[in-house]
């Protein structure tokens, strides 16, 4: 067991990259990204695994050939963003980290913001790309549909990175596990209960052809009309999804397509009865071909359409389905 010594902060001397994710499943892709950055900074990639009874999880991470710092402490259960921030603060200082990369789950973002506030350093969240030349630049979405390129002027820097920004690396030799003892007060949060999300059989993000319904769809049963079209267009890869109001307000489905829900990039997207809020458009922007069906010719979604049908979905869909089958 190694005890962390208080160490004076060598300004400008930091070059290591510290990665952390509350969802351990995101750590491998962060390793890929951190290695890219390390090739420029010249430092070491260190992965922090923090929590209570997390030691068992570390082998899985060290097989990617990096040093894993394990902070295993009963005080860290249940999750308390402030306490996790304090732990990362100590690791940042003691391991001379220049960049702290955190997996951007809700809790990951909370830890990033907490860490940045405690250290008084700059933080960019929702990062989906990093340029290293001419200077380190972080890309993130802004105003829902636009992109901002941002530079952190402080040293060190904190970012929260969107899932799937990099691919998982290959496993390799050379992994090390180092137990680190950190002083931390007990969590201030009590977990009363947790209801896991139901596993959704139809994962819209895996669809080859995604037929998505909006408020123009009058009732839940009518999603069957969309389903027929999805199957006719994409076979087993054809799936149905909805926009936020239909999921969050009407409860027709448990997930929705859009900025606050799931982002999709199918070969073919068909938007049915969707006006086209910016938050929806950003979630479908990477689709290969966009087809829009809406009776209102002024619906903003037509602006991002490859092919648009101005017409009543209850007439268009059955006919289109019929013709696809031929």
């Amino acid at each position: 067991m190694r005890y962390v010594r208080k160490k004076s902060w060598n300004k400008g001397m930091n070059k290591n990259i510290l990665i952390f994710s509350e969802d351990l499943g995101l750590l491998p892709e962060l390793i890929s990204g951190a290695r890219e950055v390390a090739s420029k900074l010249g430092g070491e990639v260190l992965a922090a695994v923090i929590g209570s009874k997390v030691e068992g999880e570390t082998k899985e991470i060290s097989k990617y050939g990096i040093k894993v710092l394990v902070v295993d402490n009963a005080a860290l259960e249940p999750f308390d963003a402030g306490r996790y921030g304090e732990v990362l603060q100590q690791l940042t200082v003691n391991y001379s980290a220049e960049l702290i990369m955190i997996g951007a789950t809700t809790r990951g973002r909370d830890v990033a913001a907490s860490l940045a506030a405690k250290l008084g350093i700059g933080c960019v969240t929702e990062v989906f790309r990093i340029d290293l030349e001419p200077e380190m630049t972080f890309y993130r979405s802004m105003y829902a549909t636009a992109i901002a390129k941002e530079i952190i002027t402080s040293s060190p820097k904190v970012i929260a990175v969107k899932p799937k920004t990099w691919a998982r690396p290959e496993t390799r030799e050379g992994g090390k596990i180092e137990k680190v003892n950190v002083k931390v007060e007990p969590s201030r949060i009590v977990q009363v209960s947790v209801k896991p999300k139901e596993v959704i059989a139809e994962k819209i993000e895996d669809a080859e052809v995604a037929v998505i319904g909006g408020k123009g769809v009058e009732k839940k049963e009518d999603l069957e009309i969309l389903r027929h079209l999805a199957t006719a267009l994409g076979g087993k890869g054809g799936k149905v999804g909805v926009t936020r109001p239909l999921a969050a307000d009407y409860k027709w489905m448990s997930e929705w397509v859009g900025m606050s829900g799931v982002a999709i990039k199918p070969k073919l997207y068909v938007g049915v009865g969707i006006s086209g809020q910016p938050q929806h458009i950003v979630g479908i922007r990477d689709s290969k071909i966009v087809v829009v069906i809406n009776k209102d010719p002024k619906a903003p979604l037509f602006e991002v359409a490859d092919y648009g049908i101005v017409g009543n979905l209850y007439e268009v869909l059955p006919l289109l389905t019929e013709k696809c089958k031929k």
Binding site: T105, K118, E126, L268, P297, D306, Y307
Partner: protein, 261 residues
């Protein structure tokens, strides 16, 4: 009887924001603004708690002259008092600096049990202010709340995270951030809007909260709308007679694109 501080932001109305067709940069001058959608719900939740339990609701915002609008809206919804940290450069602060300014302002207030804010603003979507405030105030934070109850000195919060719905408890004082699902915010009556125009917020300057203007920790080097080239082939089928022909052409096109079976 909890004393609640609600942090609100005058956000750019992204549905009305236009982009320059040649440079693809946002046209920010004169862009319409409104209170952030999640912030509105934070104000509404604070007012509902006050309705049930008493206490007080203070709205807090920072920015240039334009933020008086958002404060008027908060008054119209029914907050007791408004605090405004203003200064010419405060409109374009990065999240880290905003968090410092908000913390300094909250520390000037006599007392708080609960700080509420929207989980993210409706324009920048940084998701940083709530957890950042909690870190600097030294209190716990629970983010993305869709239900909030107060039992004695404890908060009981239901929140939706990636892996499920969590019910969490923590002792006040604390920070909670609200999502769109927590409530349906009230629309103030015309009388309330007129009444609000007479109310004056307390103005705090940077000197009063003992903050010196500092170099931004995050600089935005550019903002642009990514170019997505779409074909925009539109078939007008508002007359049923055109439908048949349009369907045939659409299916031909999709086959050529090789995106259907």
């Amino acid at each position: 009887m909890p004393d609640i501080v609600v942090c609100i932001k005058q956000s750019i109305d992204i549905e009305q924001l236009k982009f320059d067709p040649s440079t693809r940069a946002p046209i920010l001058a004169g862009a319409p603004k409104k209170m952030g959608e999640m912030d509105k719900r934070a104000v509404e939740e604070a007012l509902r708690i006050k309705g049930r339990m008493g206490g007080s609701v203070i709205a807090l915002t920072i920015g240039g002259a334009e933020v008086e609008d958002v404060m008027r809206r908060a008054y119209a919804m029914g907050v007791d008092e408004g605090y405004l940290v203003t200064g010419p450069e405060l409109g374009s602060l990065d999240s880290s600096t905003k968090i410092k300014v908000l913390t300094a302002a909250i520390k000037k207030m006599p007392h708080f049990d609960l700080v509420l804010c929207g989980a993210a603003s409706s324009d920048f979507f940084s998701w940083q202010v709530g957890p950042g405030l909690a870190a600097l105030l030294g209190v716990p934070v629970i983010t993305s709340a869709k239900k909030l109850d107060i039992q004695g000195d404890e908060l009981v919060v239901e929140c939706d995270l990636e892996k499920g719905t969590y019910t969490l408890k923590t002792k006040m004082p604390a920070v909670v951030t609200t999502t769109l699902d927590i409530n349906e915010p009230r629309v103030p009556s015309l009388m309330a809007v007129l009444g609000a125009s007479k109310k004056k917020a307390k103005v705090l300057t940077l000197e009063e909260i003992k903050m010196a203007p500092a170099k931004p920790l995050v600089q935005v080097s550019s903002i642009y709308m990514p170019e997505v080239k779409r074909k925009k082939v539109i078939f007008d089928c508002s007359e049923a007679a055109k439908l048949e022909e349009a369907m045939n052409r659409l299916i031909d096109a999709l086959r050529k694109e090789e995106v259907m079976e």
